[in-house]
């Protein structure tokens, strides 16, 4: 069986490089970060499963309100917030600390130092988050969107995060070689941006509340930037790393990647105010947010073009590689979700979509179809290199892919359609409110069904992962990487 075509022998992928020295170097780096990367991946998968349970409860409650309705512990608001924080800070941050930092270490071409620091910070991060989510469920929820974790858990989160950020900058400082790859810019920037956003938001909203709606402006500056300046750069960094690695040819254009990075850095962080269109804040603030949201079309098109041109002609390889199947799904979603997001910032569109399920659908489009899919791809690439084993089951990978792909597609379709209907009907005062509520129910049921697909996908992922972790995949290493083509064509692959 032939591997991906070796167009560029400079690539240091074990799959595409014959250079024993490069491989030995990477192997040494992988060994140095193995413990912490495994810890973060295991944590991420536990949070993914916990977040999935909270999601199912939330989705079901949306159309069966009395379900688990006998206790304050399981109100819709608390379950939804537990879901959001488990996914964003549990799954999202842990998987970034796993995959993102691993990529950083590899690109810095130097075995990591102070791996123990990273591990300790990671343990505290997860303790802080557990305390925070238990706090949410117990009723200490702040009811500030994306910042629901109660005040007694956040300092621990901020501190452990800061340690991880410092570690990332240190890894960068001790790098070897002159060239800094585009993934490193994104990761470095994300590591720097996130604590700034988080600490400012905590101070201005929770600890020393700013006056009135200044809190809301800060809230949406923060919350939108969690996506824009944290999850997005990390997912793009991962895609920029994996696409050339797996395909064995360099990224299409260096200049496009520079343009894409700086346009994102400059425009994205102004965009969050579009969550307050029509709200009680000065119009100039909203206009600034709208302009930035529209300008985001530039980095999105640029990055989309760059990724597309990098994989063009190699679609078969993309489809066969577990990593790229997920990454390319995510990259395509990035283009789509961002263009939809830009148009949602237009006042006449926002007048309809604001306050509806459309926005909920959009959030999942970004965080799941884009960010999470790319990170799944990252895990599929990283684990064999960390463990020197292969994924035990191609079938489970396929189940994961199709469960995720179908599940998220059904969810996005349902929420976008009903969100739009809901928005149009709410803007017509002659339609009674309860009638609109009734109209949403069948679509919310469809969302619950989509959640079942996603649950199956996540269980398949977790089973395959732990199966591999506990050595069952050792045999597979002798047969070569686990790929997804049919056995007929490729042998066991």
């Amino acid at each position: 069986m032939s591997e991906a075509p070796q167009i560029n022998s400079q690539s240091a992928s074990p799959y595409s490089s014959n250079d024993a020295e490069v491989r030995a170097e990477l192997s040494e780096i992988d060994a140095s970060i193995r413990t912490s990367a495994l810890f973060f991946t295991v944590s991420a998968i536990f949070w993914l499963l916990a977040g999935t349970v909270f999601a199912l409860i939330t989705a079901y409650k949306a159309h069966e309100p009395s379900f688990m309705g006998d206790s304050a512990l399981s109100t819709f608001g608390r379950m939804r917030s537990a879901h959001l924080n488990a996914m964003a800070l549990g799954w999202g941050n842990n998987i970034i600390f796993a995959v993102g930092l691993w990529i950083m270490a590899r690109l810095c071409r130097s075995p990591i130092r102070h791996g123990g620091l990273l591990l300790i910070a990671g343990i505290f991060w997860n303790i802080g988050l557990t305390v925070g989510i238990v706090g949410i469920i117990m009723g200490d929820i702040t009811s500030v969107e994306w910042l629901e974790i109660p005040h007694y858990a956040t300092p621990l989160l901020a501190l452990s995060y800061a340690l991880i950020g410092v570690w990332g900058v240190m890894a960068f400082k001790f790098r070897k070689g002159e060239h800094v790859y585009v993934s490193q810019w994104y990761i470095l920037a994300g590591l720097f941006w996130f604590p700034w956003l988080y600490i400012v938001a905590q101070i201005m909203i929770i600890w020393f509340p700013a006056r009135g709606v200044v809190q809301s402006v800060t809230n949406w500056w923060f919350a939108h930037n969690v996506l824009g300046l944290w999850l997005t750069p990390m997912a793009l960094a991962t895609a920029y790393y994996l696409i050339p690695k797996v395909l064995g040819r360099p990224i299409y254009s260096y200049y496009l990647s520079v343009l894409g990075f700086w346009a994102l850095a400059i425009f994205y962080n102004w965009a969050g105010v579009h969550h307050l269109i029509g709200g009680p804040i000065p119009v100039w603030l909203i206009s600034a947010g709208i302009v930035a949201s529209i300008m985001m079309v530039i980095p999105v098109i640029v990055v989309g073009l760059n990724h597309h041109m990098s994989v063009v002609g190699l679609h078969k390889e993309v489809w066969r590689s577990p990593t790229l199947r997920f990454v390319v799904f995510g990259a395509i979603s990035y283009t789509l979700v961002s263009l939809i997001g830009s148009s949602m910032a237009v006042r006449s569109v926002n007048e309809i979509t604001h306050f509806t399920h459309f926005t909920v659908g959009h959030a999942h489009h970004g965080v799941y179809a884009f960010f999470s899919m790319i990170m799944f791809g990252g895990v599929y690439y990283m684990m064999p290199r960390l463990l020197k084993r292969e994924w035990p089951s191609a079938g489970l990978i396929k189940l994961h892919f199709w469960g995720s792909a179908i599940g998220i597609s059904v969810m996005l379709f349902a929420l976008h359609v009903i969100g739009w209907i809901q928005g149009v009907q709410m803007n017509d005062a002659t339609i009674p409110f309860l009638e609109i509520v009734q109209n949403t129910i069948p679509w919310l049921k469809a969302r619950t069904i989509s959640g079942v697909f996603l649950t199956v996908a996540h269980i398949a992922f977790a089973v395959n992962f732990f199966w591999m972790l506990f050595a069952a995949g050792a045999v597979r290493a002798k047969q070569g990487p686990t790929l997804l083509d049919s056995a007929k064509e490729e042998g066991v692959a």
Partner: protein, 216 residues
């Protein structure tokens, strides 16, 4: 990219730019807003002897707001009214005017919200819904709003045997309601339910501000 100082500067200033532009400047513009009278004199001073708005919420309502926060009501209810002509907020009687920044200056936690699974509550205390209605609605929304997807908050109420005369604050179920307690029993609000209803009743946008007069 080899010029690292430039990379760092770029990363720093990109966020510093929006932090200054959005956060600091909105704080400069809005951070010193104070209460005013409904109308001001030609110099922009408050009218002497008139009530200052927005009003400070009474203590029980403040506690009710805490219940609202703890229950996560914000995830289905907004507290902001968009101007007439942008959406149908005013036509739906969610408020007689758009809410503006000054309406929120006394709140330690601003609960604008982003989702209207249920209706906006900025002016719910100004709608023709009394305390009894609110209690029944919280106890089980199906009593007052059949088909609603709001969850029942029955755990904020206590069902107990009537001891002597029925309590004055017992819920007044409509006749033959399938949700009424068994004969000899009554449903009474806990203090938290009382506080939450008091909070609902305190939410009113029935006053003008100089920058946001209520159209006659």
């Amino acid at each position: 990219m080899k010029n690292l100082p430039l990379l760092f500067c770029g990363i720093f200033f990109a966020l510093a730019f929006s932090f200054t532009g959005l956060i600091l400047s909105s704080n400069i513009q809005l951070g010193s807003l104070t209460q005013t009278t409904e109308m001001q004199d030609e110099n922009g001073n408050n009218m002497e002897g008139e009530t200052l708005y927005p009003l400070t919420a009474p203590g029980l309502a403040q506690q009710g707001k805490q219940v609202y926060i703890e229950m996560g009501c914000i995830y289905c209810h907004t507290q902001q009214v968009r101007r007439a002509g942008f959406g149908a907020d005013v036509e739906r009687n969610w408020g007689p005017r758009a809410s503006v920044a000054r309406d929120y200056i006394l709140q330690d936690r601003v609960l604008l919200g982003t989702m209207r699974t249920g209706p906006d509550l900025m002016h719910v205390g100004g709608r023709p819904l009394n305390k009894d209605w609110h209690h029944l609605h919280l106890y089980n929304p199906q009593i007052t709003s059949p088909g609603s997807t709001m969850a029942p908050f029955a755990f904020l109420y206590e069902t107990r045997e009537i001891d002597g005369a029925p309590s004055a604050n017992a819920l007044k179920f409509p006749p033959n309601s399938e949700y009424s307690p068994e004969a000899g029993y009554e449903v009474v609000p806990t203090r938290r339910a009382d506080a939450l209803v008091e909070y609902m009743l305190s939410l009113k946008l029935d006053y003008s501000l100089p920058e946001a007069p209520i159209a006659e």
